[in-house]
C-alpha cells in the first residue's frame, strides 16, 4: 500500500472549557475518499478547519503529503505551498466567492498566485469551467448572476484549479436543492475518476456520504464513535448513535405522530 496522503493523529481542539474535537485520528490514501458524518456541533467542521490551517489544534499532529502541517502556515509562502496539496469548498455558495470578481478573474487569480504564467491562465480557466460542466461564457459573469448550484460549481473549479491532491467538501452540497445536489455529487464522482483527486466529505447527510465516499467516520461530541467502509457502516451500524442517525433520515411513508420507523 502506498503512503497515506493525509494523516491525522490524536487531534484535539478546545475552545476554553469546551472540547470540540477529542482524540480524532484518520488517514486518507491518495485518490481515496473519507466521509466525516455527525450532527451539528459534533466537531466535524472543526476537523476540516484544522486540516486546512484555519484553526490551530490544541494537540495532535497533521501530516499532508509527508509534510508536517499541524499548525497553521506561517506566512504566505508556506500557505501557498500547502495550497497545492489541500483545498476546501465551503458550505455557503453565496459567500464563498468575492462578489466583485468575475468567474474568470477569480480562477485566473488562483492560477497566478499558484505561479502559473499569465499567458497560460486563460486556457486553464476555460478547462476548469469545462471540467465542472459550465459553458465558457460564465467566465465573464459575476457571482450575483449565477444560481447557488452554479456558484458551487465555480467554487469547486476554483478549489481544483491548482490540481490539489485532496479537496475537503465541507457540507458543500447542503445548501442546494436536492436535484442540484445530485448533479454536483455526480460531477464530483466524475472529477475524481478523471483527476484522481482525494475527497474528504464533511456532511450530516448520510445519502450524500454514501454517494461519494469509500470510508466513513461517525463523530459525536467531538469524538469518533464508529468507523469503517461506508457501505458497511451505514447498512449495519454497530454503534447506537449511528443507528439513531440512520433512523432519523426521513423517508417516504412517514406519517406525522407515528414516530420513527425502522
Amino acid at each position: 500500500m502506498t503512503d497515506p496522503l493525509i494523516v491525522a493523529r490524536n487531534l484535539r481542539k478546545e475552545y476554553g472549557d469546551l472540547v470540540a474535537v477529542d482524540d480524532v485520528s484518520f488517514e486518507v490514501a491518495p485518490g481515496g475518499s473519507l466521509g466525516i458524518v455527525g450532527e451539528s456541533g459534533s466537531g466535524k467542521t472543526t476537523v476540516a478547519k484544522m486540516l486546512v490551517g484555519l484553526e490551530r489544534p490544541t494537540a495532535g499532529r497533521i501530516e499532508i503529503a509527508g509534510t508536517d502541517c499541524s499548525a497553521p502556515a506561517k506566512g504566505w509562502r508556506e500557505r501557498s505551498r500547502r495550497a497545492q496539496s489541500l483545498q476546501i469548498v465551503f458550505q455557503d455558495p453565496y459567500s464563498s466567492l468575492d462578489p466583485r470578481q468575475s468567474v474568470g478573474d477569480a480562477l485566473r487569480e488562483v492560477l497566478v498566485v499558484a505561479g502559473l504564467g499569465r499567458d497560460r491562465t486563460q486556457a486553464r480557466a476555460r478547462e476548469l469551467v469545462d471540467l465542472v460542466g459550465m459553458p465558457e461564457r460564465v467566465l465573464g459573469s459575476r457571482p450575483s448572476a449565477l444560481s447557488g448550484g452554479q456558484r458551487q460549481r465555480v467554487a469547486i473549479a476554483r478549489a481544483l484549479a491548482t490540481e490539489p491532491r485532496c479537496v475537503i467538501l465541507d457540507e458543500s452540497v447542503a445548501a442546494l436543492d436536492v436535484s442540484i445536489q445530485a448533479q454536483i455529487l455526480n460531477l464530483l464522482a466524475d472529477i475524481r475518476e478523471r483527476t484522481g483527486v482525494a475527497y474528504i466529505l464533511v456532511s450530516h447527510d448520510l445519502a450524500v456520504v454514501r454517494h461519494v465516499t469509500d470510508d466513513v467516520i461517525v463523530m459525536r461530541y467531538g469524538a469518533i464513535v464508529e468507523r469503517g467502509q461506508t457501505g458497511t457502516v451505514l447498512d449495519d451500524p454497530q454503534h447506537p448513535y449511528t443507528q439513531l442517525l440512520r433512523e432519523s433520515v426521513p423517508r417516504p411513508g412517514w406519517v406525522p405522530g407515528a414516530g420513527a420507523t425502522t
Binding site: 504566505w76 500547502r82 495550497a83 497545492q84 483545498q87 465551503f90 464563498s96 466583485r100 498566485v113 476554483r158
Partner: protein, 285 residues
Amino acid sequence: MSVAQVASVVRTRRRSRLSHLGVIGWLALAVIVVFVFVAAFGEALAPDDPNAIDIAYANVGPIPGHPLGFDDLGRDLLSRLLVGARSSFVGPLALVALSTVAGTTLALIAAWRRGWTDATLSAGFDIAFAFPGILLAILLATLFGAGLAVAVIALTLAYTPSLGRLLRATALRETGMEYVKAFRVMGYSDVRIVVRHVLPNLMPFIIAQAIIMFGYATLDLGGLSFLGLGVQPPTADWGVMVAAGAPALLQGYPTQTLAAGTCLVLAAVAFGVLGDRLARMWGVE
C-alpha cells in the same frame, strides 16, 4: 443580442440605478457641483476685489453691481462669498481625505488581526471618540497657534476614530465571509486579500461615509474659523465671515452672517443628503 440592444440594456440599468437618488438627491448633487465650481473658479467669478476696504460703503445694502451689498468694512459681500468658497472647501477636503485614509487603515488592521490588536484599537477608538473634537482643536491651537492646518489636524484626530469604529464593524463582517477563508486556504497573502478583495467590497460604504463626513467637516471647520481657531481674517472664508458679521448683526445688518451661514448650511446638508442617498443606492447602511 445585438450591440444596440446590449447598449440599451446597459443604459436603462444605469438610469434606473441613478434614479434611486431621487429629486432631493439630484438637487443635493447640483448644489455640490455649483459649490465645487465656485470653489475652483471663485476668484475669476468675483466681480470685485474681495479684500478692498472702503469705509464709505460699510454695511451698505444691495446696490446695482453689488447684489448682496457690503460688509462692515465696505468689502463687496458677493465677491467675498465666492472667493471664500475655496478655503471653506479645501479644509474639509483635506480633513475628509486624511481621516478616511487613517480610519480605513486602522479599521482594516483591527478587523484582519482580531484578538488583542482589535481590542486595543477599539479601546483607542472609544477613548478618542469620547473626547470632543472642538476641545482638542482648542488645545492644539493654544499649543501650536491657530490656523487652518492645526484645525484640520485636530479634527482629523477627532474624525478618524468615529469612522474607524463604524468601518471596523463592517470590515469584521466582510473578513468573516467564507471567500476570505477560501483565499487564505488558496495561499493568497494577507495584503492581497485585504487590498484586492476586502477593501474594494467596502468601498461603497467608505465613499458614502466620506461624503456624509464632508458635510460635518464643512460645519466644524467653519465653526472653528468662527471661534478664531481656523482660517484667520482677513482671508475670505465662510466661517470667518459668520463671525465677522456678528457685531453688525446686533446693529441690524444681518446680511454677511446670514449669507455665509446659509452657504455653510447648504453645503453641509447637500453632502449629508447625497451621502445618505448613495449609501441607500449601494445598499449599505
